[in-house]
Amino acid sequence: MFLKRNVAQEVTRVKRKVRKQWRLDRMAVVPAIALCGLWIAACGGSSSSKSSAAAASSSSSSSTAPASSTASSNTLKIGIMSDCAGAFGAFYNADIGGAQAYFIAHNGAKANGPAPSDGISGGTIAGHPIKIVGYGCANDTAATALKEVRRLVEQDGAQVVIGPLSGDEGIAVANYSKTQPGLTFINGTSGAQDTTLKVQSPNFFRFNGDGAQWNGGVGDVAYRQLGWRHAVVIMDDYAFGWTSAAGFIADFCAAGGTVTRLYPPLGTTDYSSYIAQIPQKFDGLFSAVGGTGTLAFLKQYVQARGPFKSNTLAGNIFLGDPAILAAVHNSDVGALVGQPTTEDTTSANAAAYISALKQAYPASTNSLPKPGTLASLANSVFTVNYYDAAWALDKALTAVHGDLSGGQAALHKALATTSLPDAPYGAITLDKNRQAIVTNYIAKVTTVNGKPGVHTIYAVPNVSQAFGGTFTASTPSPGRGQPVCQKRSLPWQGKEQSVSFH
């Protein structure tokens, strides 16, 4: 009895002591962990503080001549921004490959490996050795894009940034570019209208059309050639859907047509109730539903209403995906598709571009959206827009003999007047907002030996962002009810050129 009580007391005493003992250590644990984390942060911060300090000093001074930015070396530091996660994450290497292929083919760079993200070495532009300081790894959101572009600029010291990929990212990067007036930002693929039309950053240049321009001419052809007078337009209820539809609506209404609009929420997978709202009789349907919804929409339409009558369907670039057409069992042969590039072109410029891709990345790699060579993705906007951006940089910097002084002022001036008359898919010039004026294409869905294909039938030259005055800096952005349906004259009305590559 006595022994047991003593043991119990002893246990209690020891418990208290141990508890007190390590509770005091517990006091120190939290600050200790926090300090560890901050130390890691400090290490990471200070190791690149030199480069970021240089970048900070060069970016903060705009008017004085910051010899420091290039005094340390003659290297031109380029950052390439793309998406490595999210909906377009698969195109990471397509983007990087497009830009780097140009440098390899024309500036003497060499690929470090079969995958574009392995990097390049060597190469010079106008006497400056090229250094790719980093790849921005965003995920289709503006917040991450901003983070990544800041990393490229402030941590890695990029002087020129090529990118980003998606629409919202472009607007964020264009806004950011205004805070870095001494650097150059050339767009990748992002196709939101506002990026150039509204933000109008003096050092942000876009050498590709926006989402509305990608449908330039389709509405006109639908009115004149197919005889549509009233069209039903179905679009995803968000920025890209509105912009894409706006391109068709502006065109179609300018010719004299009227439209009914439907906007299923983005991410809808069940279009049945929207299909039910489409009138039984209509002249034509334009699909501006994005890639995620086109397949579901078409399938469900065909299931509910039967196949489309001939010449009653048109759509944006996503409609031209042969796999989607196969999925709806050829029931929309004859549909018109608006797109900024062509798969079947035979032009010499496109051939030169494709051979440059083949030369730079000849090997088949698994790092692309589907295993294969980069050249197989030649006509993808993700590849060619980055290639064109690199081309524009090379052309402009060469024109000013590599002058990066004065906050890259000479380079900005040259870029604003750079044109690419031999661009793979039609000549590119810039308007006063540094936005490209491009050639757009209209293709028709055909069937060859039972297999669906897309044949280009029209080239629409000089498609500009303004759509003949429909879109200006003060008009409301494309939205549910915008643009308003109005007849007006457009530069390319009736001027579509028939083309045939077959």
Binding site: A85, S273, Y274, A296
Partner: protein, 342 residues
């Protein structure tokens, strides 16, 4: 005062319910065909939700495991069937490949269906054996584990299958539409999905009510310690139930992949739908899941088209209708319509 406080919500909700029914009646008389289409849309969606939610509620009812990975299993089932169809029958669509056959045989759909269902069942079983078997009773921890698994799954699926939406092909020999007079409705949705849900519901009923396994499950839901005290191999029963629950998710994924599509974001969508169905139907109750699914499907379907009051279009606020449904049910029955306390 207290009577008013307690009866108040019920009266309010009763009035709301009545208003909704009257509104629907008006709309039905205005456009009979549209109403019928929308009702069938809602019911076929409900069929899909029921299959997913039945698995979810079965796993919870028996094992008290909230399987947050149910949505991921759903999506993975769709992808597995898609890839199987593509590789073995070359009839599936590929995002980039031009060509390939555009007809699909019946086997070309059924075989991937069965394959995907079994594979997902095994995946679910694997998850349960590896991660959930040894920490039974720790609800929160198990929920966190399944959440972690769903995060990893979702990212890996995007990495391996890409971010673009794909579709599973239904057999070409099956008709596209069902026609009754002048009324058309997609065949697959109505007959296959609707029919599957009915058949599965019936089979589950037979399983739970008429087999020994079902009896064990019912006993386990009521009193788990007693079950093992009776000498039944509880671990085997749990494994079997998780396998069944995961299989249901996979099966639903194939049906959904054919009826709608497969793509990122669908896992979150269907997890949310399953959660709502189970919240309003009651955890652990399969009849509750059925009723909850019908309610959710109809609400979603009607709210996407019937929220036009004169000239004001409230369709964008359709999400609020689901919200109100959840609130309404929880206000009268905090544990769901058929729910029982833990």
């Amino acid at each position: 005062m207290r009577v008013v406080a307690r009866q108040g919500p019920r009266v309010l909700l009763g009035a709301l319910g009545l208003a909704v029914i009257v509104w629907l009646f008006i709309k039905a008389t205005q456009g009979g065909q549209t109403f019928l289409t929308e009702t069938l849309n809602g019911l076929t969606l409900a069929a899909l939700y029921f299959v997913v939610a039945a698995g979810f509620t079965l796993i919870f009812g028996l094992m008290r495991v909230v399987n947050m990975a149910q949505g991921s299993l759903f999506l993975f089932g769709g992808y597995v069937a898609f890839v199987a169809q593509q590789h073995w029958f070359a009839g599936g669509t590929s995002q980039f490949q031009l060509g390939g056959s555009t007809t699909t045989s019946v086997a070309g759909w059924v075989v991937p269906l069965m394959f995907a269902t079994v594979v997902i069942g095994l995946v679910g079983l694997g998850i349960q054996q590896l991660f959930l078997r040894w920490n039974q009773g720790q609800d929160l921890r198990q929920a966190l584990i399944t959440i972690a698994i769903s995060v990893i799954f979702a990212d890996q699926m995007v990495a391996h299958y890409g971010g673009v939406v794909q579709s599973i092909q239904a057999p070409t020999s099956w008709p596209n539409t069902v026609t009754i007079g002048s009324f058309h409705y997609p065949f697959f949705r109505l007959v296959v999905v609707g029919g599957s849900a009915v058949v599965i519901g019936f089979l589950l009923y037979l399983l739970i009510k008429r087999t020994r396994f079902g009896m064990i499950i019912r006993a386990g839901v009521d009193d788990r310690p007693m079950l093992s005290a009776l000498g039944i191999n509880v671990q085997l029963v749990f494994a079997g139930a998780f396998f069944l629950g995961a299989m249901l998710a996979g099966l639903a994924g194939v049906l959904g992949g054919t009826m709608i599509s497969v793509g990122p974001g669908l896992d979150t969508q269907f997890l949310l739908n399953a959660l709502i169905v189970v919240i309003i139907g009651g955890m652990g109750s399969i009849p509750g899941a059925a009723i909850g699914a019908v309610l959710l499907g109809l609400v979603q379907s009607y709210s996407s088209i019937y929220l036009h009051f004169g000239s004001t279009d409230l369709s964008p606020y359709g999400v609020l209708a689901q919200f109100i449904l959840v609130i309404a049910v929880l206000a009268i029955r905090p544990l769901g319509l058929f729910g029982r306390p833990a």
